[in-house]
C-alpha cells in the first residue's frame, strides 16, 4: 500500500517482545522481602538486612535496565525501538478493551535509566544515611516500592496502568514524607502532599475519561482516506475492500481507530488523520461518507477531538487543561506547588528520590508522553508555557529567601520543573526530558550533599535532635568548607549545573529550552515576554544556588560549628560511601549535559546528526507532532544568543551571591539594608507568594464553612427529624404495649386458665376409689359392647 510512510516514523512499529516485567519485579519483590525479612532479622543483624536487600533489589533493577537498554534497545534501528510486554487484559467496556501492558520506547527508556540509576545511588546513600533510625524495614520497603511505582508509571502502555503507577507513587510519597510520623510537621506535610496531589489526580482521571469519551464511538475510516489508502481501518485491524466485502487484511499495517486508552494507539490514530488531511487538501471530513454500500463513516479522531466544544471552550482545550492540572499536581506547578516545600519533612534521601528521579518528574513525563495530543491545542500549550514560566519565577523567588536549606532546594525544584513545563509548552518535549535528566543528577547531588551537611551540623548543634529544622537552618551553618571538602566541591558542581554556568549540564538543557521557546511561534502569548521572565529567573536561580553554597561552606564561620564538624558527624566507611555517591552525582551533573546534549551549533555536522544526542534518541517519539509544518532547524544565531545570555546571567548571579554571602559578616549591614527596603517582597517570597494563604482562602476556608453549614444543617434539620421519628416511635411503643397487655396477654391468660380448669375437672375422675374405677371399667366395656353390636353386625 505504501501510503503510510512507515520508515518516516509516522506510525508506531509493531512492538518487539522484551522481558520488561523484570524491571518491575525486582523492586516489587525487593519491597516485600525488605519489609518481611528486614523486620524478622532486625534484631539479629542490627537492622542491616533491610538496607542490604533494598540496595540489592535496586542494583538488580539497574542491571536489568542496562542490559535491556544495551542489548535490546540500542542495536535496533532508531524508529523500531518499541518494546512491548502485554501482561493481562483488565476489562472490556463496550468496544473498548483495556489491558495491562508494558512498553519501552525511547521516552520510557530514558526515564527508566534515570529512575534506576539515580534510585540505586540514592538507595546506596540511604543505606548509610539512615543508619541509626528506627523503622528501617518500613523505610526501605517503601523506598523500593516508590521506585517500583515510578517504573510502572513510565513503562505503562496506556492510561490505565499509568494511573496505577501514578496513584502508587502518590501513596508511597505519602508514607515516606510522613516517615517520622510522630512529628506533627511530617505527618501534616504528608497529608498536605497527598491531598494536593489528590486534586491533580482527580483532574487527571476526569481528563482521561473525557478524552476517551471525546474519541467517540467506533469509527471506520473510509471516504477520502479510504480512497487514498485503499484500506479501511477498524478497531480490530484493517479491513480491506475485496470482491466479497470487507475482509481483514494480513500484514502489519494495523491502525486501530476509535476510543482507546493506549498511548501508541492514540498517537497513531491522530497521526493517521493528519496524514489523510495532508493527502487530501480539500476537507476530507465532509465528503466522507462515500462508501454507502458498507455504511461506513469517516470519523477521524482528530476531527472528533478538535471540532467538539464544551460550552464556549474547545473540547480538546478542556481535556488538555485537566491533564495539565493532573501533571501540575504531581510536578508541583502553579497552582498546586505548595506541597513540595513542606515535603522536606521527610528524610533527605526521600527528598532526593522525590525531586530527582520519581514523583515530580511524573507530570513532565505525562505531558511529554502526550505531546502529540497537546500539539493539537495551541491554547493548551500556551497555558502550559505560562504556568511553567510563572512557576519558575515563583519558585526561584521563594528559594531566594528561605533559610532552611532543604526548602531552598525544594523551591529550586519547583522552579526547575517550571522550566521543563516551558519546554513542553513550547512543543519541545525532548528539551524538557533532557532537563529532567540533568536536573535529576544535580538535584540528587544537591540533596544528598545537603544531607551530609545536615548530619554534620546536627552532630554539633546543641538541641538539634529535638528540633530537626535547626540543623537545616543555613544561618547555623557556615565555614564547613574545610570540614567537608569533597561535599563542598560536589555541591559547587551541582550548583553550577543548577545555575547554568557554561559546560555544566544545566547550561545545556536550559539553553535548549530557551532556544526552543525563542523559536516557537505557536503560542498565543508573546514569547519575548516569557523569555524575559525566564531570564530574570535564571539570574535568581544562580543567585539562590550560590547563596546557599556560600552560606553553608563560607559565610561567617561560627567557630564551634566548624571546629566541631571535624569531630562530629559520621565517620568511617559509611561517610566515605555517602561522599562517594555525592561525588559520582556531581560528576554526572557536569558530564551528562555535554555528553547527551552537545549543542548543534557547536558541532561541525549538519542536519540530523547535529542534534544533541538525547534529542536524536528521543526524536521518533516526538516526530510528526506538528503536522502543519516541519520544525525548522533553530537558527544558529538564536542559539548562540541564548547560550551567551544564559552564561552571562548565570555568571552575574554567581558574582552577586559571592559578593553578598561569601563573607557574611562584612556584608551584614548591606544585607540588612536590603532586607529592610524589600521587607514586603521578602515576606511575599518567603511564603511562596502566599500559596498557603491562597489555599486557605480558596479551598480550606470554604471547606470549613461548608462543614460548619453541614453541621448546622445536621443539627437543625437532620437531628430534629431524627428526634421526631424517635418521639413517634415512643408513642407507637406505648400503644403497642397497651394492646399487648390487654389483648395478647388476655388471650394467653385465657388459654392457660382454660387448661387449668380442664385439669381440675379431669382430676376429679381419678378420685382414688376402686368402686368408681370398677364402675368406669364396666361402663366402658358395656359401651364398647354396644358399639360393637351396632357397628359389628
Amino acid at each position: 500500500m505504501g501510503s503510510i510512510p512507515y520508515s518516516g516514523g509516522w506510525l508506531t512499529p509493531p512492538g518487539i517482545d522484551a522481558p520488561l516485567l523484570w524491571l518491575l519485579l525486582f523492586p516489587l519483590l525487593g519491597a516485600l522481602a525488605t519489609a518481611i525479612l528486614g523486620s524478622l532479622f532486625a534484631r539479629r543483624f542490627a537492622g542491616r538486612v533491610a538496607p542490604a536487600l533494598a540496595v540489592a533489589a535496586m542494583l538488580a533493577t539497574l542491571v536489568t535496565a542496562l542490559v535491556i537498554f544495551f542489548t535490546d534497545v540500542l542495536p535496533v534501528g532508531e524508529r523500531e525501538r518499541i518494546f512491548r510486554q502485554p501482561l493481562f487484559p483488565l476489562f472490556v467496556v463496550g468496544g473498548i478493551r483495556v489491558s495491562f501492558g508494558l512498553v519501552l520506547d525511547p521516552l520510557s527508556a530514558v526515564m527508566v535509566l534515570l529512575v534506576t540509576g539515580l534510585g540505586s545511588l540514592i538507595h546506596l546513600y540511604a543505606a548509610f544515611y539512615m543508619d541509626d533510625e528506627q523503622g528501617r524495614p518500613r523505610f526501605f520497603a517503601f523506598l523500593n516500592l516508590f521506585v517500583f511505582s515510578m517504573l510502572l508509571l513510565v513503562l505503562a502502555d496506556g492510561f490505565v496502568p499509568l494511573f496505577f503507577g501514578w496513584e502508587a507513587v502518590g501513596a508511597c510519597s505519602y508514607f515516606l514524607i510522613g516517615f517520622w510520623y510522630r512529628r506533627a510537621a511530617a505527618a501534616d506535610a504528608a497529608t498536605k502532599a497527598f491531598v494536593v496531589n489528590r486534586v491533580g489526580d482527580a483532574a487527571l482521571l476526569v481528563g482521561i475519561a473525557m478524552l476517551l469519551w471525546g474519541l467517540g464511538g467506533i469509527g471506520l475510516v473510509t471516504g477520502a482516506a479510504a480512497g487514498q489508502l485503499g484500506t479501511v481501518w477498524t478497531r480490530t485491524g484493517p479491513l480491506v475492500e475485496t470482491g466479497e466485502g470487507l475482509q481483514p487484511s494480513p500484514g502489519r499495517q494495523k491502525v486501530p481507530v476509535g476510543p482507546t486508552l493506549d498511548f501508541h494507539e492514540l498517537r497513531d490514530e491522530l497521526r493517521l488523520e493528519m496524514m489523510s488531511r495532508a493527502a487530501a487538501p480539500t476537507n476530507p471530513f465532509t465528503g466522507a461518507t462515500a462508501d454507502a454500500a458498507h455504511d461506513v463513516q469517516f470519523r477521524p479522531a482528530t476531527y472528533l477531538l478538535t471540532s467538539k466544544t464544551l460550552g464556549r471552550l474547545p473540547f480538546l482545550f478542556v481535556v488538555c487543561g485537566l491533564l495539565l492540572l493532573g501533571a501540575a499536581g504531581k510536578s508541583a506547578q502553579l497552582p498546586l506547588f505548595a506541597w513540595l516545600p513542606d515535603a522536606m519533612a521527610g528524610p533527605t534521601p526521600v527528598s532526593a528520590l522525590i525531586h530527582a528521579a520519581t514523583l515530580v518528574t511524573a507530570g513532565v513525563y505525562l505531558l511529554a508522553r502526550l505531546s502529540f495530543l497537546f500539539a493539537l491545542s495551541p491554547a493548551a500549550l500556551t497555558v502550559v508555557a505560562v504556568i511553567g514560566t510563572l512557576t519558575a519565577l515563583v519558585g526561584a523567588t521563594a528559594a531566594l529567601v528561605q533559610n532552611d536549606l532543604k526548602r531552598v532546594l525544594a523551591y529550586s525544584t519547583v522552579s526547575q520543573l517550571g522550566y521543563m513545563f516551558v519546554a513542553l509548552g513550547a512543543g519541545a518535549a525532548g528539551a524538557g526530558v533532557f532537563h529532567v535528566v540533568t536536573h535529576g543528577f544535580f538535584k540528587a547531588c544537591l540533596f544528598l550533599a545537603a544531607g551530609l551537611v545536615v548530619h554534620a551540623v546536627a552532630a554539633t548543634t546543641p538541641g538539634a535532635a529535638e528540633r530537626p529544622d535547626l540543623a537545616q537552618d543555613m544561618r547555623q551553618m557556615g565555614g564547613l568548607a574545610r570540614a567537608l571538602p569533597a561535599t563542598r566541591w560536589a555541591y559547587f558542581a551541582a550548583c553550577s549545573a543548577l545555575a547554568g554556568l557554561p559546560f555544566a549540564s544545566g547550561f545545556f538543557s536550559k539553553d535548549l529550552i530557551l532556544t526552543s521557546l525563542a523559536t516557537c511561534d505557536r503560542l498565543s502569548i508573546s514569547t519575548p515576554l516569557l523569555l524575559a521572565v525566564l531570564g530574570v529567573t535564571s539570574f535568581l536561580t544562580s543567585l539562590y544556588a550560590f547563596r546557599s553554597y556560600y552560606l553553608i561552606f563560607f559565610a561567617r564561620p561560627p567557630r564551634q560549628t566548624a571546629h566541631a564538624a571535624h569531630h562530629g558527624g559520621h565517620h568511617g566507611p559509611g561517610q566515605q560511601v555517602m561522599t562517594a555517591v555525592v561525588v559520582v552525582l556531581a560528576l554526572g551533573a557536569i558530564v551528562v549535559g555535554p555528553a547527551l546534549g552537545w549543542p548543534g551549533n557547536w558541532s561541525s555536522s549538519q542536519g540530523e546528526s547535529a542534534l544533541p544526542r538525547l534529542l536524536r534518541f528521543l526524536s521518533p517519539m516526538f516526530e510528526g507532532d506538528w503536522p502543519r509544518r516541519d520544525t525548522p532547524r533553530t537558527p544558529a544565531m538564536v542559539e548562540w544568543g541564548m547560550q551567551l545570555g544564559g552564561a552571562l546571567v548565570a555568571a552575574l548571579g554567581w558574582a552577586v551571591a559571592r559578593a553578598l554571602y561569601r563573607d557574611a559578616e562584612a556584608t551584614a549591614p548591606t544585607r540588612r539594608r536590603l532586607a529592610e527596603r524589600y521587607a514586603v517582597l521578602e515576606r511575599l517570597f518567603a511564603t511562596g507568594w502566599q500559596a498557603d494563604r491562597a489555599y486557605h482562602l480558596l479551598a480550606v476556608a470554604p471547606a470549613r464553612a461548608l462543614a460548619r453549614g453541614a453541621t448546622w444543617l445536621d443539627r437543625a434539620v437532620v437531628d430534629r427529624a431524627v428526634n421526631a421519628v424517635a418521639a413517634l416511635g415512643l408513642r407507637l411503643g406505648r400503644l403497642a404495649g397497651f394492646v399487648d397487655r390487654r389483648a395478647v396477654d388476655g388471650v394467653v391468660d385465657g388459654v392457660s386458665a382454660a387448661a387449668l380448669a380442664a385439669g381440675r375437672r379431669g382430676a376429679r375422675l381419678q378420685d382414688g376409689r376402686i368402686n368408681s374405677y370398677v364402675l368406669g371399667i364396666a361402663a366402658g366395656i358395656a359401651a364398647l359392647v354396644v358399639l360393637a353390636y351396632f357397628l359389628g353386625s
Binding site: A763, G768, R769, I770, N771, S772, V774, L775, A778
Partner: protein, 121 residues
C-alpha cells in the same frame, strides 16, 4: 347362636320335660344375672372382702358360660375342664387377694377400700 328357646321356660311342664326344655338361653340368663350381681357387689361394696366375693361371682358367671356354650355347641366337656381351671384360678386368686387384704388390715386396721389411701387429694 339363637335365644329362641327361652320361651319354653314359661310353659309349665314336668320336671324331666322341664329339664329337657332348659336350653342355652337359661344358662345365659343365669350367667348374666350372676355377672351383674358380682359387678354390682364389686362396684358398690366398700369392704375388700365383699369386693372379692363380687369378683368370685363374676368369675363363676364366666365359668358357667364356658360350660353352657361348650355343652350346647359341641356336647364335649371342654367347658367343664375350663370351669375347673377357673375354679382353681379363683381359689388361687382368693388366696392371694385375702392375703393382701390381711396385710392391708394389718397396716390400716380396716378393710374399707375407701379408707385405704395414702395419696393426698
Amino acid at each position: 347362636m339363637t335365644l329362641g328357646m327361652t320361651t319354653s321356660m314359661t310353659t309349665g311342664l314336668s320336671a324331666a320335660a322341664a329339664l329337657a326344655s332348659i336350653g342355652l338361653g337359661h344358662f345365659l340368663v343365669l350367667s348374666a344375672v350372676m355377672f351383674t350381681l358380682g359387678l354390682i357387689t364389686a362396684a358398690t361394696r366398700r369392704s375388700a372382702v365383699a369386693i372379692l366375693m363380687g369378683v368370685e361371682l363374676i368369675l363363676n358367671a364366666a365359668a358357667l358360660n364356658f360350660v353352657a356354650f361348650s355343652h350346647y355347641s359341641q356336647g364335649a366337656i371342654t367347658g367343664q375342664v375350663f370351669a375347673v381351671f377357673v375354679v382353681v384360678l379363683a381359689a388361687a386368686e382368693a388366696t392371694v387377694a385375702l392375703a393382701i387384704v390381711l396385710a392391708v388390715f394389718r397396716g390400716f386396721r380396716t378393710v374399707d377400700v375407701t379408707d385405704v389411701s395414702t395419696l393426698k387429694g
